[in-house]
C-alpha cells in the first residue's frame, strides 16, 4: 500500500476526484449492458431530471468547502413547492414566485449561516433541525395531503429546448460556470479556500472568517431556492414528499466530486460530474430494475466509499 502510494503516477491518478472514474465506469457498464439507452434523448431526460440536484450541489460545495454542511435544502424545496402549488397566492405572476422562492432560500440560508458562523452551533444539527421544522410546517399547513397543481407557466418553461439541449440543463451549466468564475476570480473565492484550509490561519491573516461562512450559507440557501423552482417545474404538481432526499444526494455528489470538508480539489466541475454520475446511476438502476431500497443503499455506500477514499490520504498518527 505504502509503496503503491509513493509511486507518482498512482498519486497523480488518486488526485483525480472519484466522480470522473465513476462516470466513465457507469458509461462503460451502460455501453456493454444496454447500448440502446446510450442515445441523446434518453440521457437528456435523465440529465434534465438531476438539474435541481445539480443546482443544489453548487450551493452544497460552497458550504462544504468552508467545513460546514447544509442539509436544510429538502425543507426549503418542500416549502417553496407548497407556496407555488397550494394556491395560497392566487393569480400571482411568475416574477412573484421567483422572488418569493429566492427570499425563502436566502432567509433560511441566513439563519443557518448566523447559527453556524456566529453561534458556532454544529451545522448538521442546525440544518437538520431547520429542515424538520420546515417539513413539519408544510405538513401541518397541508394536513399531510398533496396540495394542488403547479401553474402551467413553470412546466412550459421547463419543457423548452435550446437546440438539442433542454433549458434546465443549460441553466444548470450556466450557474455552475458562474460559480466557477466566482470561486476562481473573486476575493470571496480566495476567502472560501483559505477558511477551508485553516480557519485559524485565515483569521490571523485578516480573512473575515465568520462573514465568509455566513455568506456561504446564504448562497447555499439561494441555490436551494433556485433548485426548488426547477424541481417544482419538473414534477408539475404539489407534493408533501418532494425533494426530501435531495440534500443527502447533494452531499454524496459533492464528496464524489472531490470536495470534502475544507478541501476543494474537485473545484466546481468535480461535483458537476458527481451529479452526472448520479444521473447515469439512475439510468443503470432503472435499466437493471433496482428499486427504491437499492438506491438508498447505493447512496449510502457511495458517500462512504468516497469519504474513505479521501480519509485514507489524510491519516493522523
Amino acid at each position: 500500500m505504502a509503496v503503491a502510494l509513493d509511486n507518482s503516477t498512482v498519486r497523480r491518478l488518486l488526485r483525480i476526484p472519484p466522480a470522473y472514474y465513476v462516470f466513465v465506469l457507469l458509461l462503460l457498464v451502460l455501453w456493454i449492458a444496454r447500448p440502446h439507452m446510450l442515445n441523446l434523448n434518453v440521457l437528456g431526460i435523465f440529465v434534465r431530471q438531476v438539474a435541481p440536484l445539480g443546482i443544489l450541489v453548487i450551493g452544497q460545495l460552497l458550504v462544504m468547502r468552508v467545513k460546514s454542511i447544509d442539509l436544510s435544502g429538502g425543507g426549503v424545496i418542500l416549502l417553496i413547492n407548497y407556496c407555488i402549488s397550494s394556491g395560497t397566492f392566487p393569480g400571482a405572476s411568475m416574477g412573484f414566485f421567483v422572488v418569493l422562492a429566492l427570499a425563502i432560500g436566502i432567509g433560511v440560508g441566513l439563519f443557518n449561516g448566523l447559527m453556524v458562523g456566529k453561534r458556532r452551533v454544529s451545522a448538521v444539527i442546525v440544518t437538520l433541525a431547520v429542515s424538520i421544522i420546515l417539513v413539519g410546517f408544510v405538513q401541518y399547513l397541508s394536513s399531510g395531503k398533496p396540495p394542488g397543481d403547479v401553474p402551467s407557466m413553470f412546466t412550459d418553461i421547463y419543457n423548452t429546448k435550446l437546440g438539442p439541449l433542454p433549458t434546465p440543463v443549460l441553466f444548470w451549466v450556466a450557474l455552475s460556470f458562474a460559480m466557477w468564475l466566482f470561486l476562481s476570480r473573486t476575493v470571496f473565492g480566495r476567502f472560501v479556500a483559505s477558511v477551508g484550509e485553516n480557519a485559524q490561519a485565515a483569521h490571523f491573516s485578516g480573512v473575515p472568517v465568520e462573514r465568509t461562512v455566513v455568506l456561504a450559507h446564504v448562497l447555499a440557501g439561494l441555490f436551494a431556492g433556485i433548485a426548488a423552482l426547477v424541481q417544482t417545474a419538473s414534477i408539475a404538481v404539489g407534493s408533501v414528499r418532494v425533494g426530501l432526499d435531495l440534500p443527502i444526494l447533494a452531499v454524496a455528489a459533492t464528496i464524489l466530486g472531490g470536495v470534502v470538508f475544507g478541501r476543494g480539489e474537485g473545484g466546481v466541475w468535480g461535483p458537476f460530474f458527481g451529479v452526472l454520475s448520479f444521473a447515469l446511476l439512475f439510468v443503470v438502476m432503472t435499466a437493471f430494475g433496482i428499486g427504491e431500497s437499492g438506491k438508498l443503499v447505493a447512496q449510502g455506500l457511495i458517500i462512504l466509499l468516497a469519504a474513505i477514499f479521501y480519509g485514507l490520504r489524510s491519516q493522523r498518527h
Binding site: V135, G136, Q299, L304
Partner: protein, 320 residues
C-alpha cells in the same frame, strides 16, 4: 446559600454539565401537567409515559457515549427500524434476539472502524450508514407487518411483583450504563478523549497513552447496541416490524442528550443528565398528546427545542 446554589447551577469546570436545571424543568413540567389535566396523574397514563419514553431513554444513553467523545451517531434511528424488521423475520426468538445484538454490534464496529481507521468524519460515516441500513430494512420489510417472538412481547407488556416490566428495562439499562461510564476504565477514557477533542487537541488522550481508537470504536458499538435494545423494546410494543418506526429518532436522542447538559463538543456530560433530558422529552411528548397537538406541530416543536438547546451550548469549533 446563594453562592452554593449558583455554583451548583453553573457548569464552569464541571465534568457533569448542567443537569440540575433540566431536572427542575422536568419536575416543573410534571407538576404543571398534573395540575392542568386530569388525565396526567392516573396509573394508566403514567405507565404509558414510562413505556413511551423508554426507547428514547435507552437510545439517548447510547448516544451519550458517542457524544462524550465528541462524535455523533446519526444511524441509531435506522438501527432501531432495522432491529424491528429483523425481529419480525418469523424465526425462533432464541436466534433472533441475540442475532439483532450481534448485527448491531457489527454496525457499530463498522461505524467505529470507518471513523478511526479510515479517518472519515463521524457525521458522514454514520449518515451514510443510516441510508445503507434504511435500504436494507426496506428490502427486509417494505411495509410494517410480521410478528415478533412472544418472549419480546411478554417482556414489555407484563408486570413483575406488581411493577410493570418497562420499569425494569429502565433500571437494567441505567445500571449497565452506570457501570460502563462510572465503574470502568473505559468510561474515564471516554471523558479524556472527549476533553481533548473539545479543546481542539484531538491527540491529547492518545499522547497520554490512552488507546483512543479502540475506545472510540467501543463507544460506537455500545451506541448501536443500546439502539438495538430500544428497537427490541419498540418491537415488543408494536408487535410487528416497521421500517419507519425509528424515523427521526436520532434527532430526538440528540435533543435529549443535549437537554441533559452533555456538551455536543465532547468531554462534558453525565448519565443522570441524559436520563433527565430524556424524561423532559417524554413528558413533553406526553403533554402534547394529552393536549391533542397535531403530530406535525409536535415535530416542529421538537426541532425548535433542538435548535434552542444546541444554540445555548458554547463551543470553539465552527462548521460541522
Amino acid at each position: 446559600m446563594k453562592a452554593d446554589t449558583l455554583r451548583l447551577l453553573s457548569t464552569k469546570g464541571s465534568r457533569q454539565g448542567m443537569w440540575l436545571l433540566p431536572l427542575l424543568i422536568a419536575l416543573g413540567l410534571a407538576i404543571w401537567l398534573s395540575v392542568q389535566t386530569q388525565q396526567f396523574l392516573n396509573a394508566g397514563n403514567l405507565l404509558n409515559l414510562v413505556a413511551q419514553g423508554m426507547p428514547l431513554i435507552i437510545t439517548a444513553i447510547g448516544q451519550m457515549f458517542v457524544i462524550l467523545i465528541g462524535g455523533l451517531d446519526l444511524s441509531v434511528g435506522s438501527v432501531i427500524s432495522f432491529t424491528t424488521a429483523v425481529l419480525a423475520l418469523d424465526g425462533p426468538g432464541i436466534v433472533l434476539i441475540p442475532g439483532v445484538f450481534v448485527l448491531a454490534a457489527l454496525i457499530g464496529l463498522c461505524n467505529g472502524v470507518i471513523i478511526t481507521r479510515f479517518n472519515v468524519h463521524p457525521i458522514i460515516a454514520t449518515l451514510s450508514m443510516q441510508y445503507v441500513l434504511l435500504g436494507i430494512t426496506r428490502v427486509l420489510r417494505p411495509v410494517s407487518g410480521g410478528t415478533v417472538p412472544d418472549v419480546v412481547i411478554a417482556s414489555v407488556s407484563g408486570s413483575f411483583l406488581g411493577v410493570p416490566l418497562p420499569v425494569f428495562w429502565g433500571i437494567a439499562t441505567i445500571a449497565v450504563a452506570w457501570k460502563l461510564l462510572y465503574g470502568s476504565r473505559f468510561g474515564l477514557h471516554l471523558f479524556a478523549i472527549g476533553g481533548g477533542v473539545a479543546s481542539g487537541t484531538e491527540d491529547a488522550a492518545h499522547n497520554f497513552g490512552i488507546r483512543d481508537r479502540r475506545n472510540i470504536v467501543l463507544a460506537y458499538v455500545i451506541c448501536s447496541c443500546f439502539a438495538a435494545l430500544a428497537g427490541v423494546f419498540l418491537a415488543g410494543r408494536i408487535v410487528s416490524g416497521d421500517p419507519n418506526v425509528g424515523l427521526l429518532f436520532e434527532l430526538d436522542a440528540i435533543t435529549a442528550v443535549a437537554i441533559g447538559g452533555t456538551q455536543l463538543s465532547g468531554g462534558v456530560g453525565s448519565l443522570h443528565g441524559t436520563v433527565v433530558g430524556a424524561l423532559v422529552m417524554a413528558l413533553l411528548a406526553n403533554g402534547m398528546n394529552l393536549a391533542n397537538v397535531s403530530p406535525f406541530i409536535q415535530t416542529m416543536i421538537k426541532g425548535a427545542i433542538l435548535l434552542l438547546v444546541v444554540s445555548l451550548q458554547s463551543r470553539k469549533k465552527m462548521g460541522l
